[in-house]
Each structure stands twice: as structure tokens, then as C-alpha cells.
């Protein structure tokens, strides 16, 4: 009944690794599922949740959360029955991540799950890191974009990550002490990384820090 959380720097292949691990272990990959559940509970569209996550922690989303009166949002979003701001997003997110983890046998990608499930007895937390130049190379290959654009994308995603965790009062998200396993993806192929994560899932009870 293990729960694997995968936190990652942009361009380290987190989604591909998550998919491989889930497939090999017969686990669920909780990525779009979290978005769908959150959208259902908040009664907004999955698209809204996705775009909200892209903006999360930025000045724009704070502006929307604090300055734009709810009645104006309601007028604009006539076809939606719910509402999502930073606070309500977080309320739903923590509950859904905790719920998904309690169902067990799941790989959860990002979304602060390493913090939410910090002391979950069955959770194993994995962090993927790599050098910036290598991550840029990966993004160039994956998205068939020129180097300058990939550099921009990686930098923007790194800033977004800092901003997102900053809005949760966290800055230690790349500290190895939060994780059971830290993988330098520039030194490992996906297959080897998958082996290591699957072995971690198979380990019985782990020492808890709490």
C-alpha cells in the first residue's frame, strides 16, 4: 500500500518516470486525477484548475484572490457553479492528496505532496534534480524548441516553483532531508531511476522522523 510522491525540477522527466513507476508497480498515477477531483469538488472545470495551477503563487492569482470581488467573477464565469481562489484551492488540494494517499498504491506528482504527506507511514518521497543546462537540453528535445526558448521555459518554471512554494511558506523544497530518495537525473537513465523508485516502494516499514 505504498504511496510514492515525486517532486521535480522542470526538465527532469518527472511525469515520464511517474508513468513508468505506476505502470511497473500497477499503481495509479495521480496527476490529472487530482485535477479532476478538485474540479468536481469545487464545481469548476478541470481547465480552470489547470490554468489556476499554472498561475498559482503568482502576482496575478493573488490579485484575483484578494482584489477581484466574487460577484464580478460570478458574472464573468456564468457557466461555472463554483469558485476557486488560492485559499480554496489549497483547502481542496490538501484533502484530496490526503484522500488519494489513503487509498494507497499511488504515485503522486508534485503539488506539495511531500509536505502534505510528510509523516504518512506509507509514503516514500522522491526528488528529481539535474543541472540547468541538461534540463534545457531535455526540454529542447522533448518539445522540439530552440535553445533560447527552452532556457526561458526552464527559468520560468523554476521561478514558478519558487513562487508556488513561497505562497505556502516553503523554501526548502529541494533540500534532501525532506526526501527518502534524491535522484540526479543527468546521471541516470529513466529505466535505472524507475528501478530505484520501485525498490523504494517495496521496502517495508521505514524509519519515521516523527
Amino acid at each position: 500500500m505504498a504511496v510514492i510522491t515525486i517532486s521535480r525540477q522542470h526538465g527532469t522527466g518527472g511525469r515520464a518516470l511517474g508513468r513508468m513507476v505506476a505502470q511497473r508497480l500497477g499503481y495509479t498515477l495521480a496527476d490529472s486525477e487530482i485535477i479532476e477531483r478538485l474540479a468536481k469538488e469545487a464545481r469548476v472545470s478541470p481547465r480552470w484548475v489547470e490554468s489556476f495551477e499554472k498561475e498559482a503563487g503568482t502576482r496575478m492569482s493573488r490579485f484575483i484572490s484578494t482584489m477581484v470581488a466574487r460577484k464580478w467573477v460570478d458574472r464573468i464565469l456564468k457557466d461555472e457553479h463554483g469558485y476557486l481562489d488560492e485559499q480554496s484551492y489549497l483547502d481542496y488540494l490538501v484533502l484530496i492528496v490526503a484522500q488519494v494517499a489513503d487509498e494507497g498504491n499511488v504515485v503522486i506528482l508534485g503539488r506539495g505532496s511531500q509536505y502534505i504527506l510528510d509523516d504518512h507511514p506509507d509514503a516514500r518521497h522522491v526528488l528529481l534534480v539535474d543541472r540547468v543546462d541538461h534540463r534545457v537540453e531535455i526540454v529542447m528535445g522533448r518539445e522540439s524548441i530552440p535553445e533560447a526558448k527552452a532556457v526561458q521555459e526552464v527559468a520560468a518554471e523554476d521561478r514558478r516553483r519558487i513562487s508556488l512554494y513561497g505562497s505556502l511558506g516553503k523554501s526548502d523544497f529541494d533540500q534532501p532531508l525532506l526526501y527518502h530518495l534524491v535522484l540526479h537525473m543527468g546521471r541516470l537513465d529513466l529505466e535505472t531511476a524507475c528501478d530505484l523508485v520501485c525498490r523504494l516502494a517495496d521496502v517495508g516499514e521505514l524509519n519515521s522522523l516523527t
Binding site: 469538488e41 469545487a42 464545481r43 469548476v44 457553479h81 463554483g82 469558485y83 485559499q87 480554496s88 489549497l90 483547502d91 481542496y92 490538501v94 484533502l95 492528496v97 490526503a98 484522500q99 494517499a101 489513503d102 506539495g112 509536505y115 502534505i116 504527506l117 510528510d118 504518512h120 505556502l168 511558506g169 516553503k170
Partner: protein, 130 residues
């Protein structure tokens, strides 16, 4: 004076079920369909008890519970949380919200996992309100 119980739930069937049990027990039932409306009714009506669903659109029960418990003027309002979510899952989520900079709130006094039998709900109401 008849004691007042506020039911906050987005599901009209659940509200009907709860209000029926409440009235059968001899209390007066009030309703709200989301957390926002629930908070407004708590402030207006000063209910003796709130039956609160955890997951609802337009301000969840989690937010309303935290608002009630962190507002000195409302912290004494008694709350029964009703949810399809296991209590341990709810408690983990509360710990995470506190970890993410939210105020620490007390564990709920009463937490009933749905589906709740009418007898169990009636027993809980009587235990709290007498």
C-alpha cells in the same frame, strides 16, 4: 427556547435527511448550502450546533470550520463534521494547512463518517444538546 441546529451541506437530499432528524428530535433546523452562506447564518442566527459537510463548492466545510474555530466570537459554536472522508484523512489535511501557514485549529469534537444512520445522528444531537 427551542435549540437551533444549522445544516450546511450542498446536497439537498442530505439537508432534507438531516433537518428531518433534527426536527424529529425536537430542535429547530436551519439550512445553508455552502460555507459562505453557512458563515453568514451562524453570525445571524447564532445556532446551538452546526452540522457541517466537509467538501462543498463555494467555500468548503474545511474553511468554514477553520473560520469558526479561529474567530474568538464564534469559536464556541459546537460543530459536528459530516463527511464521506475518513477522519484520519481530514486530520492529515488540517495538519498540512497549518504547516502551510494556517492557524492551528482544534480537532473536531464530533466527526461522523457518511452515510450516517438516523439513530446515530439523533444520538449525537441529544448527546450534545441534551
Amino acid at each position: 427556547m427551542t435549540k437551533k441546529v444549522l445544516v450546511v451541506d450542498d446536497d439537498p437530499d442530505v439537508r432534507l435527511f438531516n433537518t428531518t432528524v433534527i426536527e424529529e428530535c425536537g430542535y429547530s433546523a436551519l439550512e445553508a448550502e455552502n460555507g459562505e452562506e453557512g458563515l453568514a447564518r451562524v453570525k445571524q442566527e447564532h445556532p446551538d450546533l452546526v452540522l457541517l459537510d466537509v467538501l462543498m463548492p463555494r467555500q468548503s466545510g474545511i474553511r468554514l470550520y477553520r473560520e469558526l474555530k479561529t474567530d474568538p466570537a464564534l469559536a464556541k459554536v459546537r460543530v459536528v463534521l459530516l463527511s464521506g472522508i475518513a477522519k484520519k484523512t481530514f486530520l492529515r489535511s488540517q495538519k498540512a494547512l497549518t504547516e502551510f501557514g494556517g492557524a492551528a485549529v482544534p480537532e473536531p469534537e464530533y466527526y461522523l463518517e457518511k452515510p450516517v444512520e438516523p439513530e446515530e445522528l439523533a444520538r449525537t444531537l441529544k448527546q450534545i444538546l441534551g
